[in-house]
């Protein structure tokens, strides 16, 4: 089933835009710009058409576009797989609903991991062409955390797909709810901004923070390591981000096991 998932993802033309964006970026910088080593030797600087581009912003933008492409493209196969017309073919092989759920996540993770490695290799190629070494911690943090960010969005989307049977509804709800998770990492300023000083409201937000997969948690960790190296890894934030993925995963698993086709 993992191979089936990967096969369908590789056939998805929307997802070709992911490596496409990176190839376009590499080609554009190679033709119209350049890459130079940062004086600190810890990073590198990119310029395009004579304009210097801060590395952090460039990578952030590439990651954001990648997330958007993946969120639109990846759930299409799951949405198809849980329609009765496809599910009856898959489950009669026979594949159990549990196997369908678990191997789908394994397939999606493998796909995201492979495409991230390709993206990192393209960035490494870009810097290498200009005689600059792509920082090791940038490569590792992207390979480790980009698939995790995508999986945390995907968990939310899968839950809503199982509940609503609607691709568009699932993707939109999943995207906004997982995006909403950024709020939970900044509860205090938010409460002060709206004058919500009741402790019960803070408690409610804290509970929600552990219920909704925290894509923002993984993104913040990625950002910290990007700018300050592995020493800035926040273990408690990492544990929180993983813990927040558990409730929706278990709920999705339970609901799919009960689903009839």
């Amino acid at each position: 089933m993992i191979r089936f998932t990967i096969r369908t993802l590789l056939k998805n033309k929307t997802l070709w835009a992911w490596p496409g964006i990176f190839i376009l970026f590499v080609v554009a910088v190679t033709i119209w710009g350049g890459v130079s080593a940062d004086p600190s030797g810890y990073s590198y600087a990119i310029n395009l058409g004579g304009l210097p581009l801060p590395t952090g912003i460039v990578i952030n933008q590439l990651v954001s576009i990648t997330i958007l492409i993946a969120i639109i493209g990846i759930p299409t196969h799951f949405s198809e797989n849980i329609k009765p017309e496809r599910a009856s073919l898959l489950l009669s092989k026979p594949i159990s609903r549990s196997e369908l759920f678990v191997s789908d996540f394994a397939g999606v993770y493998t796909f995201c991991f492979a495409y991230t490695v390709i993206s990192v290799l393209l960035l490494t190629l870009l810097t290498a062409v200009h005689g600059v070494l792509f920082p090791f911690h940038h490569a590792v943090v992207m390979i480790v955390f980009l698939p995790l960010i995508l999986i945390s969005y995907y968990i939310t989307i899968v839950l809503f797909l199982i509940l609503t049977n609607s691709y568009l509804g699932g993707v939109i709800l999943g995207y906004f709810l997982a995006g909403f998770s950024s709020l939970f990492l900044n509860v205090d300023p938010f409460l002060q901004m709206f004058g919500l000083t009741d402790t019960w409201f803070e408690t409610l937000l804290n509970i929600l923070a552990y219920l909704i997969p925290s894509a923002e948690g993984f993104q913040q960790i990625m950002g910290h390591i990007f700018s300050s190296g592995f020493s800035s890894l926040d273990g408690s934030l990492l544990a929180f981000a993983f813990a927040s993925c558990v409730p929706f995963s278990l709920l999705g698993f339970y609901l799919l096991r009960k689903k009839q086709f």
Binding site: T8, K83, A87, L91, S92, K93, P94, S96, Q260
Partner: protein, 247 residues
Amino acid sequence: MILQANNVSKTFKKSKADTFHLNIDHLEIQDGSFAAILGPNGSGKSTFLKIILDLLYADSGHISLMDKNHKDKVSRANVSYLPENYSFPEDFTIREMLHAFADLKRSALNVGKIDHKINKLANAFNVSYLNKKMKNLSKGMRQTAALMHTFLADDQFYILDEPFNGLDAVQKKAIMDYIFTIQKERNISILITTHILSDIDKTCDTLFLINDGRIINSATKNEIQDQFGSVEDYYLNYFDTKDPVIS
């Protein structure tokens, strides 16, 4: 015994005002048998097949497949199913689709053997368009590809829900010939649902009539020939309730 169902019931809401009840008191199909379930639209044929395959959960009752509970994956691993409505990945060619689905079977053949089997089926089903994408197929071609997918595995029991939808007479004959050949070779069992009576007139050895979720009659081929002459007359005897129009 390839299939035995006892006291299987399932109730679900078709719409706010309409509730459907399926009640199969007893149904059994022998090894090597070619059985058909006949009934009007909405009588519960597909629902019953889906319960056998655990796609729908029965409220009560017991089903055994090859002498094991139907929920046991080991027994279902020897069953191939063609649903009435199906959806294959549209961007796959027929060959890619067959490889992808063959891979899902526990008894998956290796790539070389799958290719050999695909070519054998393509030859038997007159398919010369294996490299055509699923989205570019006509209804008949799509149905043939779906049947190829069903017969790709060397299983013991084939459950076919309206398998001849959209097929022309030549294609139907090619597929029936293939089914008869493998039935002789491997003593497979077939359970088919259809509402095109001519499709099964000379082929089935056991028939079940279903109406409003209940098996209202069953008969062997010989019994039907002796009492009614043809499957059509047998069917009409139970379902044609209209008075003849007199001009």
